[in-house]
């Protein structure tokens, strides 16, 4: 069994390659959450100048396949002059994938933020204002920390989804887990199917890691009390 894993499946190579979904998610997800907060605030704004572009962005990002977006970012952004590297025709695959995952998931995180912010009792803001806080203080000290607890489970959920979506990055040449597994499968008698199973098991282990991380933070937060709410998910 062990020799099969090491010599046929090349489990060592797979485990090393498993860092790519982790890297992609660890970089893209925080960006998506951060950018998503801005989108949500724009969306919630009473000014149409702010809410409308945000709504349009969110609908476009959610309404088109990530796969298509990856190709557009990879091939099209450089052509309109946004190149990060010397090769002018395409971006480097890795930053392109990070940007794309972040930009795509920001739309979903924005909706989670929006629902989370709206779920915090209006009386909380009023209580904060009534002791003399500014709108900004009431947002950052009172509303946002409470929204954070509400959005945490769906955000972790999305992080797990992103982990799996990150395999699409192989389409623009990122040598991530799935691509490495395919490479091994094509060049040995072990067979593609077994390699896909092995890769799937590794994704599963990574997902479980995120799941338990989320549960751990949730329990830590719950020990401190506060509002809870489960959001109905837009997808997944």
């Amino acid at each position: 069994m062990w020799t099969y894993l090491v010599e046929q499946i090349h489990i060592g190579d797979l485990i090393v390659a498993a860092r790519w979904p982790l890297y992609l998610t660890a970089l893209s997800m925080p960006m998506a959450v951060f950018f998503g907060l801005f989108l949500a605030l724009m969306r919630l704004s009473s000014s149409k100048m702010l809410s409308w572009p945000s709504a349009a962005y969110i609908e476009i990002m959610r309404g088109t396949p990530l796969y298509v977006q990856l190709f557009l970012v990879y091939y099209t952004l450089p052509q309109i002059g946004i190149a990060f590297h010397t090769r002018a025709l395409t971006l480097d695959p890795f930053p392109a994938a990070v940007i794309c995952l972040a930009a795509n998931y920001a739309a979903y995180e924005a909706e989670i933020h929006r629902a989370g912010l709206q779920a915090v009792d209006k009386g909380q803001r009023e209580a904060a204002l009534s002791i003399g806080m500014s709108e900004k203080q009431s947002f950052f000290l009172v509303t946002l920390p409470q929204a954070f607890r509400i959005i945490l489970p769906p955000v972790i959920n999305d992080a797990i989804a992103m982990l799996k979506d990150s395999c699409l990055a192989s389409a623009i040449g990122v040598m991530e887990l799935l691509k490495v597994a395919e490479g091994i499968g094509k060049n040995s008698e072990v067979g593609l199917a077994n390699m896909y199973i092995a890769a799937g098991v590794l994704y599963m282990i990574l997902s479980l890691g995120f799941y338990f991380l989320g549960k751990y933070i949730e329990i830590k937060l719950r020990a401190r009390g506060g509002a809870e709410l489960s959001l109905t998910q837009a997808r997944h």
Partner: protein, 261 residues
């Protein structure tokens, strides 16, 4: 109608001709009211007559369309059209006003992600930017005042409603306000818990705190008030001493209101 013995001495908070509409719904139709220093004023009136709206206009949780609010002889806000977006200066002014005027809500609105102590410290710490030691001392003093010092490390949602409301009062008091507004502070509480909150309010009155209380508890309203204000249909329909309002019942509206309760 105004009874003779209520000539204001040193005005603390004053509303002049407040008009407030929600869309086509004209809720406040020119409310004039002055609270003087150390005065305890209770506001009565039928449901929907605009009592809450009025209190919220006083500290600008709601914008109003006409009139003005004055604190210690200085104008602190003015009416604006309903679609008016407050400027930076107006927001700062509103914030300054709220730092001087405490408010206690029917639903307590304690911050659930903070301990009892952190709730009470939040004003001195984040708004007054006092040192940690000072902040701690103020919060300790206020929690002792409401008899809940031993609850300081607790999660607010683990307290009874009456205790939560007393923490909310301590949180407001920690800002050392000139005036305290209470909007049905005990309506969510049972009689026993109501009593413990009333006890705190009575102590504040004895210390000379200027207060405006909206309440549906007639015995309490009569007992604690220096002056009773009866609102009806978006205006102050009558005001005067508790005996003037409760015994003489100067208007038809008051008679109906008191008989029903």
């Amino acid at each position: 109608m105004q009874s003779p013995e209520t000539t204001p001495s040193e005005p603390m908070l004053e509303a002049r001709g407040i008009h407030k509409s929600y869309g086509s719904k004209h809720v406040l139709k020119g409310v004039d009211l002055t609270v003087v220093k150390a005065e305890v004023l209770t506001i009565l009136g039928p449901n929907g007559c605009g009592k809450s709206t009025f209190l919220r206009c006083l500290n600008l949780l709601e914008q109003y369309q006409q009139g003005s609010v004055w604190l210690k002889g200085q104008q602190v806000s003015a009416g604006h059209p309903e679609d008016h977006v407050p400027s930076r200066v107006e927001q700062d002014q509103a914030q300054k006003l709220r730092q001087r005027v405490g408010m206690v809500f029917q639903r307590f609105n304690l911050f659930p992600h903070m301990t009892v102590m952190q709730n009470v410290m939040s004003g001195p710490k984040y708004v007054l930017k006092k040192s940690d030691d000072e902040t701690h001392d103020i919060a300790e003093k206020m929690l002792k005042k409401v008899g809940l010092w031993e609850k300081s490390p607790c999660d607010p949602l683990t307290l009874s409603g009456g205790q939560q409301q007393r923490v909310a009062i301590a949180r407001a008091l920690a800002m050392n306000p000139d005036v305290m507004l209470f909007d049905e502070a005990t309506s969510a509480l049972d009689p026993v818990l109501t009593k413990e909150v009333f006890k705190v309010v009575r102590e504040l009155a004895a210390e000379g705190m200027t207060m405006l209380l909206v309440t549906h508890d007639m015995d309490f309203a009569r007992d604690i008030a220096d002056r009773v204000v009866f609102m009806e249909g978006g205006i102050v329909a009558a005001q005067g001493s508790p005996s003037y309002i409760f015994d003489e019942r100067p208007t038809e509206g008051i008679r109906k209101f008191l008989e029903k309760g």
